[in-house]
Symmetry: C2
Subunit: 216 residues, 2 copies
């Protein structure tokens, strides 16, 4: 990993552009304007032009972007053009669901390994991937050139597991455990914490006291 | 719902502060400094002071914040003090996992109803909640004063389902379906798209061509 040159929020939008561009190319449409991209993604045309300018604008003024070309360019920027291997750690309910969802759908980020601490789960097959014991984690990561770790272990095990992932060579972690990971440099961590998502959503409902107009 | 006065990024940090403050209060520690909050959350003390200032600073300079008081205040701002009801739509693998995870853990945002289109799932019980048919959705939302909807339906059904949620009175939606929802004003939508999360993570690995130092 190196210092990202593109802001994190823009990186999050790239896969959304990619999805629309791939649909466009699949429909045999060659050129897409920033206005059409805006219509399909919900972002403003200004935002889109700014994002795409981070890696050199390919659009022709008054015409638009070459959908296939831009899609290939975004794939390369994201590192999806030759695929990235991922390991899922924790084959509980959430892990199981993620594996089923992801393995059937993703060809560019591939869950090639699943690891669990529970001996009862080891050896079972999820979507064609055999669950390996936790003690094999570092070895699995090294053997299969895995760059992404998906953590769905209990909070108490998250830190230790993340350290093993880093030790093996993982460079980015998607962390579903409600725990703050502390890792050395070289690993990018993205947290998805369902408690936080649900609690912050409550702010946007009438349950929030901020929604009361009587407050000064 | 009304226009949020506090930036979305700050709202996302409030539940993280809340978690640390509740742990602090539970450990019978009365006062916490912004430096300690920073140490436990990973945010900078400046960021924390700025966030907390949005709703009036309670900290005493050189001393810190009253943990119990601040925790109650954040609960009220988020609307968690009297609880918020949520419905889960889609009891597939992901929905099932979310229900199990959430019902056992969350007392402030409560999944009080689960709905599914599949007659084979209707009537089954998940963590004490009986699955109702999709045709009951609007009625369920109205009857149980539900303000939050969690969408784990297939992409093709997401828009129609979201419209029914809004019709029933839902004010915020956590959308796991890989589909862009288009709703009228009055509903806040937070998307969690696993494809996008995984694809954007790839950028932070050495698979990304941006990581190649040979590029000018």
């Amino acid at each position: 990993m190196r210092k990202p040159k593109i802001p994190e929020a823009a990186i999050k939008r790239l896969p959304i552009y990619l999805r629309v561009l791939e649909e466009t190319a699949a429909a045999d449409i060659q050129i897409i304007s920033s206005a059409e991209l805006a219509e399909k993604t919900g972002f403003s045309p200004e935002q889109i032009r700014k994002d795409l300018a981070y890696f050199g604008a390919f659009g022709t003024r008054g015409v638009g972007y070459d959908a296939a070309l831009l899609s290939r360019r975004i794939s390369r920027i994201l590192g999806l053009h030759h695929g990235v291997n991922a390991v899922l750690v924790g084959a509980g309910h959430l892990g199981h669901a993620l594996a089923r969802y992801s393995i059937s759908r993703h060809k560019d980020v591939r869950i090639v390994a699943i690891v669990d601490a529970d001996p009862a789960k080891v050896g079972r097959e999820i979507m064609g991937v055999v669950v390996r014991p936790s003690s094999d984690l570092v070895q699995v990561v090294q053997e299969q050139n895995i760059k992404i770790g998906i953590l769905t272990v209990p909070a108490a095990e998250a830190q230790t597991t993340a350290e093993l992932l880093q030790q093996g060579g993982v460079e980015a972690i998607l962390n579903f455990a409600p725990a703050k990971l502390r890792l050395g440099p070289g690993v990018f961590v993205q947290n998805i914490d369902l408690t936080i998502e649900l609690q912050s959503l409550a702010y946007y409902t009438s349950a929030s006291e901020e929604s009361s107009p009587s407050e000064p």
